[in-house]
């Protein structure tokens, strides 16, 4: 796939909606489109977080590996969602597994390369972070809401 095709995909993705073209092109240089089969592992807890993924279609589950039992799904991600933010903070290792539970199409971005680019292009770094922070806030708030509901429900 050519860089320009993946750049177009990036620009159409909800996460990058309205991003300056220059930046889309730069990110496109680090990105490629990948298809995952059902049940295929995308990333694994403890491994280096050197990629970040955008879901274009399908369904991805974020799971916690649990010894002696089946993994627990803690988040379901679909079209328009981002998979992973461990690549943004040291030690750059995944804290969960991610698996395609349906045949899925993702944009796979070389996060290690992008991180290095941020150092020389802070405007790009700011633009990406400013889109990531609300995603992190929403996930945190979703987790808290569920924690609270579990606790309230229990009583």
């Amino acid at each position: 796939m050519s860089t320009s095709t993946v750049t177009a995909l990036l620009e159409r993705h909800r996460f990058f909606a309205g991003i300056p073209e220059r930046m889309a092109v730069t990110i496109g240089e680090f990105a490629l489109e990948r298809k995952y089969a059902m049940e295929e592992m995308i990333l694994r807890q403890g491994e280096p977080a050197d990629n970040v993924y955008l879901v274009c279609s399908g369904l991805v589950s974020v799971e916690l590996y649990a010894p002696g039992r089946d993994p627990v799904v803690v988040e379901g991600l679909g079209a328009g969602d981002v998979v992973g933010w461990s690549w943004l903070c040291p030690p750059y290792r995944w804290s969960f597994d991610a698996r395609a539970v349906e045949p899925s199409t993702l944009i796979d971005i070389d996060a290690a390369g992008l991180r290095a680019r941020f150092e020389v292009d802070p405007a790009l770094g700011y633009e990406v972070l400013r889109r990531f922070v609300p995603v992190m806030a929403r996930r945190l708030s979703s987790a808290r809401e569920r924690m609270a509901e579990c606790e309230i429900d229990r009583s």
Partner: protein
């Protein structure tokens, strides 16, 4: 004024002197038979109740009855069945207290008491011409189910119909049969989201608010019915506001202690309102200010 006249003058006033209270005394339970018990999910069961006197039962979606376990006590429970059936009542009960745990022990055939109906109803017609969004979690689906039935009976009067239901896990999804039936319809969206799930789960995993973010409806022309724990209502309200809805288009229910159901006992007060009279269904903008005050 001679003595006998004095007494008769008093007697002439209706309700005076020694006499049994009216047979329709709202404080006296009416006898119903538990016709059917359905175990829904852990600690939650539904009763189908039929009145022993055979007279019609009347109740509207959103209203509640005071259910009585003989010799144990009474609890306020919303109607959760089809309200157009005037021969029987359906109530879904979670066994969390002394009375409801005693109720959980009762088998089909047992007799129980019912007082009601009490309280305000969901405004069915307020949503005509609008997208309808139901937001609920765990057993909160029970008070909404009669309204969902009504909306589906007159489906053509509404825009999109969306149910957003949150459950702790995949094993405690209430009314799974109904949800399955509704999901099979082409004229409504059913978004069931769970807090966590076993691997391979194909449904939504996330919070109710997150599921609201993901659903497609016209925020500017929608009505929302929210029924979940009071602590989590605001999360739903905020998610709806982010979709462009205003609080005068949101309805919710609240829960307080209830002893009588008719405004006499004083227990269910919420600010100037009695939850058994002005509630349990409120338009959210009418209580928005009170809702923000803790321990009111």
């Amino acid at each position: 004024m001679s003595p006998p006249e004095t007494v008769s003058a008093v007697q002439a006033v209706p309700g005076a002197v020694t006499q049994p209270a009216s047979a329709l005394d709202p404080m006296v339970p009416r006898a119903f038979r538990v016709e059917h018990v359905r175990r829904e999910v852990k600690d939650v069961f539904s009763w189908q109740l039929r009145p022993l006197d055979g007279a019609a039962v009347q109740i509207a979606p959103g209203q509640f009855n005071m259910l009585y376990a003989p010799g144990v006590g009474e609890v306020a429970i919303s109607v959760s069945g089809d309200c157009s059936d005037d021969s029987a009542l359906v109530h879904t009960i979670r066994a969390v207290g002394t009375v409801t745990r005693a109720m959980a022990q009762l088998q089909a055939g047992a007799m129980v008491g019912v007082r009601g109906p009490f309280g305000s109803a969901w405004p069915i017609e307020a949503g005509y011409g609008k997208d309808v969004v139901f937001i609920t979690g765990t057993v909160g689906l029970a008070p909404l189910r009669p309204l969902i039935y009504e909306v589906l009976k007159r489906r053509e009067k509404y825009g999109k119909v969306i149910i957003t239901y949150g459950s702790r896990g995949v094993d405690d999804i209430l009314y799974e049969r109904d949800l399955h039936t509704w999901r099979g319809r082409f004229d409504m969206d059913v978004n069931v989201t769970v807090h966590t799930a076993p691997t391979g789960y194909r449904g939504l995993v996330g919070s109710v608010a997150e599921a609201v973010n993901r659903s497609t409806f016209e925020g500017g022309n929608a009505i929302a019915f929210v029924c979940r724990s009071e602590a989590l209502t605001l999360a739903a309200v905020r998610a709806l506001q982010q979709r462009g809805m205003t609080t005068d288009c949101m309805y919710t229910t609240l829960e307080r202690s209830m002893k009588c159901g008719i405004g006499f006992c004083g227990h269910c007060q919420f600010g100037p309102t009695f939850m058994c009279k002005e509630g349990p269904v409120y338009r959210f903008d009418t209580i928005e200010r009170l809702f923000a005050i803790r321990e009111l």
